[in-house]
Amino acid sequence: MNTTHETKSAPAALVTGGSRGLGRALAVALAGAGFRVVLVAREHGPLDQVVAEIRARGGQAHGIAADVADRDAVAAIAGQAAALVGSIDLLVNNASTLGPVPLRLLLDTDCEDLSRALEVNLVAPFRLTKAFAGAMVLRGSGTIVNISSDAGVEAYPRWGAYGASKAALEQLGRIWAAELAGTGVRVLTVDPGEMNTRMHADALPEADPATLADPERVASGIVALLSAEGPGAAASGARLAVRGDERKTAEGRTS
């Protein structure tokens, strides 16, 4: 047999919803911080653009075109990602849907819209976590980040489908953290606040973009938080509010 000694390679991250908004910004920021990044998004076009942009900056990135809510796609996403970059150290469940747009009162929300929100925002992160966390537990290290929202905590009228799905995602994250205690795998919830993204424009078209945080600034805040080690490191199960700029979020959300 031939034996070659393994070399410790750069950590690897997988970001869902990686072609736009916070997901895109996170992928770019993680690549900038030395991660090998796998981005997942439904459409090839925008996905390939972000991959090309990261590579042009000297980073390592790969794109996987898939719908995270497609049950059969999850094993393929996990396999392709690990084939391309090896073991995944960081999973960011960022892909989300608002549910019906314009946002509707619950009495006007179709059951199918609520189901779809739960499928994308809750069940897909569950399936992806199941697909990646086992290998992390076996290795004794890894981080899973679920991107949530203050709509998962506050009862904003018209945010029913989205808010309920995020509240459930946060509770699922706490239970993941409790079950994985002592394994070396962290599960964190991040509330990125209100950002200047297409999703925000879809939800609140009347909002003034100047009052919203840049996703790039929020992303670098999240990356800094994830990189913190020792006593400053975020404890598993924590809910972390990360703001690009505190002043801009002071007005809060209108309902």
């Binding site: 047999m1 393994e6 790969h62 094993a75 090896g86 086992g134 290998a135 076996l138």
Partner: protein
């Protein structure tokens, strides 16, 4: 022995035949009892290879149907290169022995599997069915197409198709396996975490399990072909620590045996890293690293039996086979399990905590 035709209701609750090589006894348990069957200080070593969608269906340039089952990475030629076993017309409902041969293909022949273009770059002297394939495209393109077009290798004795998620262990990582490392199928996190609470440690390696059978007698006689493996430094350290403390190294599956035995020097020393092993475990083989084995139910007619025979007396294994047959244990990928526990080590301690 009857093959299991579908999944058990719970992956971690199947029948377990315990072969106690020390006492020369057989015990019937269930896999849920595994945490009580191993002792503090023992080490369970698993193969964390995820299973690839290794079966591709397509055509040659004349339109003749071809199924390619990838059997190993062609590490000499590099990325996008695989060794594959080819079949002609037919499908997985037929036994591989009954499948028609592939069209005669020369070096340079082109094949197409949906969006995936492939070229035959070499033929094997082992069998006309075994060829080296180059899958065209960048790494990203090849893996995307493979996962879009490929399906896990299917089995004629199953009642239904196996989707990709169904052929993964709960700890699957890098997709190196061409068939499921199925000995690890009954392991759930409930069991793994209970083992750890009981003082049993676990460690992992990655071994590129190849096809277990091809239906071509000449090729089957040569299996397993050389397979690549990667043993982390943490696993080497855990094995050394286990030996120092008199614990037992229990391999989950014959692929783990092959990696650890094939990766070790004749004096039993093991180095971390990756390599390729062509070790074939034949009757009389004396293991240097592994003490015991969790596996599926195998009969003396299978090549896996030689691996079992490295860990327990032949007569005891034949008794186990007869017991499994008489008590209708299920064999094959989705079947029941067998745990071979070795004779005691110098450190004396009870082997089984339960009475028969």
């Amino acid at each position: 022995m009857t093959a299991a035709r579908t999944y058990p209701a719970r992956r971690d609750d199947v029948r377990l035949l315990v072969v106690d090589a020390g006492a020369g006894e057989l015990h019937e348990r269930r896999t849920t009892a595994l945490p009580a069957l191993l002792s503090p200080g023992d080490l369970l070593v698993v193969n964390d290879a995820a299973t690839l969608p290794a079966s591709l269906r397509g055509h040659d340039v004349t339109g003749a149907p071809v199924e390619a089952r990838l059997i190993s990475s062609d590490t000499e030629r590099g990325a996008g290169h695989f060794w594959a076993v080819l079949f002609g017309a037919g499908n997985w409902r037929q036994r591989t022995e009954d499948r028609s041969p592939p069209p005669a293909l020369a070096t340079g022949a082109r094949l197409r599997f949906g969006p995936l273009a492939a070229e035959v770059v070499a033929l094997s002297s082992l069998s006309p069915r075994l060829v080296a394939l180059r899958l065209a495209g960048s790494d990203d393109e090849v893996w995307a197409a493979l996962y879009q077009e490929g399906r896990p290798v299917q089995y004629s004795y199953l009642a239904h198709d196996l989707p990709l998620w169904a052929v993964q262990t709960v700890y699957a990582g890098r997709p190196w396996a061409f068939e499921m490392p199925s000995a690890g199928r009954p392991l759930s996190w409930e069991i793994l975490l209970a083992l750890r609470r009981n003082g049993v440690r676990w460690a992992s390696l990655t071994h590129a399990a190849g096809l277990s059978s091809t239906g071509d007698p000449a090729l089957d006689a040569a299996l397993p072909l050389p397979e690549r493996f990667d043993i982390p430094a943490a696993t080497v350290a855990a094995i050394a620590e286990t030996r120092r403390q008199g614990g037992r190294v229990i391999a989950v599956g014959t692929t783990v045996v092959r990696a650890l035995e094939g990766g070790s020097a004749p004096d039993g020393t093991l180095r971390a890293g990756s390599g390729v092993t062509s070790l074939r475990i034949i009757p009389g083989y004396r293991p240097r690293v592994v003490d015991g084995l969790l596996s599926g139910i195998h009969t003396a007619a299978e090549s896996h039996f030689a691996v079992l025979a490295a860990f327990a007396p032949f007569d005891l294994l034949r008794s186990a086979e007869r017991y499994a047959e008489a008590h209708q244990f299920k064999s094959h990928e989705l079947g029941d399990a067998m745990l071979i526990l070795p004779r005691r080590h110098a450190v004396d301690r009870p082997l089984l905590s339960c009475a028969p």
